[in-house]
């Protein structure tokens, strides 16, 4: 809610050229779809499921990234996989780009219709099927993470991948999303068992087999993980079969503060080496801690900190917390607090939960430019410090939060949306961060995806030969380049 309000305020007061110019030029360009074509779509999907309204198109061209949105020429709301297939065939016949839309909570402009076309809003497809004793479920794209977990609440099961936003689960498959729990439960890649995908020509496939929902298979090519992370450039996901886990019997949260980034990272490495099955282990730098103190009226020490969560049986979580407490202390950590009671846990973790908004509040009116890179854990300290040095030399603020258990960190650069120079500076910092990661054998994006803004980095990370292979796959599945063009490749 807050982000929406902030965004509309910014638009009203902004003198920005970067944001409004592009939108204006799209709005005045002639639509790619004639009235006749729009009527054809209405004939297939029903009038109420097709919209040419400017506001709807604009809304569907934007996500939570810093990129300005690009509206499609029409937005459609199919209600079945068959409908989606008909839309794909329609776009294929008429050479129209096709862009899938889940919840619009992405961070890399995945939904931006750079070349116009048809935006396919899949939120009306909301079916859920659960196989409680087999620990699996099937969801359509309109089902979000929280909606699924609410549905499951009386079964004793949950789906733990938690990227923060209440994102569409199929959208999370498309971006290979991860989150704070990945260190224990894995990312979408490890938890997607099967996908129903509509291809560019309208063909419908099930990537792991017809109705297959097994946890493992050696049958054929791993098409499931080809589409996971493909960001709508190879096909539209209309159903995902996901792995479920038992809700932990007990949860304990803990917080600890450190004299240096190094000591926090060292502690993390040792926690993993001790085989402590920590569920969440999050790093917040001093700038972030300061932001949180101000925003949530807390009084944490303004120092590099770790926020942890343990899942398991009653006795197990207490043992885990104790063991980690000892490791923290051994590395110079102080004020180790832990809590078992739900309200207490929420209070302790409030800092981490509010990190995004707390950062934005450091500079009212700013836009958050999210960055994302992933390296080996042992290199985290070096990269976090290098990023902090870059930030201090710039005139931007960039609080840092990291999923240290995976070597993944983000710096949220706070940018004045009306300043072209600040945006360029943020891009420059983000590129340096990604390039440092690539040079160290890391990846330019741990969980946000390539989208529109990181395509140059993809080439640097993979090199010509591998990029050619990716190009060949794209060419064979989408020869006309209609599937979310301008993204990933």
């Amino acid at each position: 809610m807050n982000t929406l309000i902030k965004r509309s305020l910014v638009r009203f007061t902004s003198k920005s050229h970067i944001f409004t110019n592009q939108c204006r030029s799209r709005a005045t360009k002639a639509s790619l779809l004639s009235n006749q074509l729009v009527d054809e779509l209405s004939g297939v999907l029903g009038d109420e499921n097709v919209s040419k309204a400017e506001v709807i198109r604009e809304q569907h061209g934007k996500d939570e990234s810093y990129h300005s949105g690009q509206p499609a020429d029409v937005v459609v709301f199919p209600t079945s996989t068959e409908d989606v297939s008909l839309v794909a065939q329609f776009c294929n016949r008429n050479n129209l780009p096709i862009i899938p839309f889940g919840t619009g909570t992405g961070l890399e402009a995945g939904v931006s219709a750079i070349h116009g076309g048809v935006c396919v809003d899949l939120s009306k497809m909301c079916e859920i099927e659960v196989n409680v004793e087999d620990f699996d479920c099937t969801v359509q794209p309109g089902v979000t993470r929280i909606a699924l977990n609410t549905f499951l609440r009386d079964t004793g099961l949950w789906f733990p991948v938690d990227p923060g936003a209440d994102a569409s689960l199929c959208g999370m498959c498309a971006t290979s999303a991860s989150g704070t729990n990945a260190v224990r439960y894995g990312t979408m890649r490890e938890n997607t068992l099967n996908l129903k995908v509509v291809l560019a020509d309208g063909r419908i496939i099930e990537t792991a087999g017809k109705g297959t929902r097994t946890k493992k298979s050696s049958a054929g090519y791993n098409l499931t993980n080809l589409f996971v992370g493909s960001e709508g450039t190879l096909g539209l996901i209309t159903k995902a079969t996901l792995k479920l886990y038992g809700i932990p019997e007990a949860m304990v949260s803990a917080v600890c503060h450190f004299p240096s980034v190094q000591s926090a990272v060292d502690t993390t490495v040792q926690v993993l080496q001790c085989n402590i099955p920590v569920a969440r282990i999050e790093f917040l730098d001093d700038v972030m801690m300061d932001a949180v103190n101000r925003y949530s009226s807390m009084d944490y020490p303004v120092a590099p900190s770790l926020f942890l969560e343990f899942h398991g049986s009653e006795s197990h979580v207490q043992d885990q917390a104790k063991a980690v407490g000892e490791l923290c202390e051994a590395n110079g950590g102080s004020s180790f607090q832990w809590a078992k009671d739900a309200d207490e846990r929420n209070r302790l973790w409030k800092a981490r939960h509010n990190a995004f908004y707390a950062s934005l509040a450091l500079r009212p009116g700013c836009k958050g430019f999210a960055t994302d890179c992933c390296i080996a854990i042992t290199q985290l300290t070096e990269h976090v410090i290098a990023m902090k040095q870059d930030i201090s030399k710039s005139n931007l603020l960039g609080p840092i939060v990291g999923h240290v258990g995976d070597g993944n960190f983000h710096s949220l650069l706070l940018v004045d949306p009306s300043s072209e120079s600040e945006l360029q500076e943020a891009k420059h910092l983000a590129d340096r961060m990604a390039r440092r990661a690539i040079a160290a054998g890391g990846t330019c994006t741990g969980e946000h995806g390539i989208g529109k803004g990181k395509r140059h980095l993809l080439k640097e990370q993979f090199g010509d030969v591998t990029m050619d292979v990716m190009g060949q796959i794209k060419q064979s599945l989408d020869p006309k380049n209609l599937m979310n063009p301008g993204k990933v490749l």
Binding site: A147, F151, D154, I247, S313
Partner: protein
């Protein structure tokens, strides 16, 4: 302190489901639709369990009036931590016509029979939205009531309850035994974990009928029709300064 608490749990259509009116316009579609425990009842169960964890209460009994499937709802309450359940079986037309007026009398009888010190109910069920059962139960029992509770504290022989009212918050003292109805902000209910769901299967649920409590549940209302709210019409833009 060896108090016993009675918690009422109702099986309703899950709050996330999009409810549809039946073609005969005499009710809503319930076949094949996901049902779960009324959210306010989840809060009631959670509050009772927390009192038990604080050792203020010794035993929590969950009761539900309804068809066979109501037992699933009782099992969920048991998985959350209740000790035993009571299922008052009411089916078909009798169940369709069941009103807070009837339920309150049944709950009052059970409260007396089980010798409870507190009855905790959700403030209202999300299907009927009547907001009457708690108040009526207190009246039948001639017990004090503290409705729309957003905080419950025990001191000696009574309870200090903070209530959510239109003007803000009202704090009252009620003597025990009493009836409490829960409001949204009282607590955040726990999710049942698999081990607890398994343990719940072994906890006892007593099967009862309305006759066992000698309560008359003849219908006092007749449903004339059930309809969708009117479809929202498109707004219109007003251009210029003639407002």
């Amino acid at each position: 302190m060896s108090m016993r608490v009675l918690v009422g749990v109702k099986r309703v259509i899950d709050y996330a489901v999009k409810v549809r009116v039946k073609p005969d316009k005499m009710g809503v579609v319930t076949d094949g639709v996901k049902h779960s425990m009324n959210p306010f009842d989840e809060i009631a169960v959670e509050e009772a369990i927390r009192l038990k964890e604080k050792k203020i209460v010794k035993e929590v009994v969950a009761v539900s009036c309804g068809p066979t499937q109501s037992q699933e709802t009782i099992r969920t309450a048991l998985a959350m931590g209740c000790d035993r359940g009571i299922h008052v079986e009411i089916t078909g037309k009798e169940y369709e016509n069941l009103q807070p007026f009837h339920v309150s009398k049944i709950l009052a009888k059970i409260a007396k029979e089980e010798d409870v010190d507190m009855v905790i109910l959700g403030k209202q069920a999300i299907d009927g939205d009547n907001n009457q059962t708690g108040q009526m139960t207190a009246a039948v029992l001639d017990w004090p009531q503290a409705t729309f509770a957003s905080e419950v504290k025990k001191n000696n022989g009574d309870l200090t309850v903070t209530r959510e009212v239109d003007g803000g918050l009202e704090t009252i003292n009620v003597k025990l035994p009493a009836v409490i109805t829960t409001d949204l902000r009282l607590n955040e209910p726990r999710y049942a974990t698999l081990p607890n769901i398994m343990k719940a299967k072994k906890k006892p649920i007593a099967k009862k009928t309305v006759a066992d409590y000698d309560v008359d549940i003849s219908p006092r209302q007749e449903v004339l029709s059930v309809e969708d709210p009117p479809v929202r019409e498109a707004g219109s833009k007003i251009i210029g300064n003639t407002v």
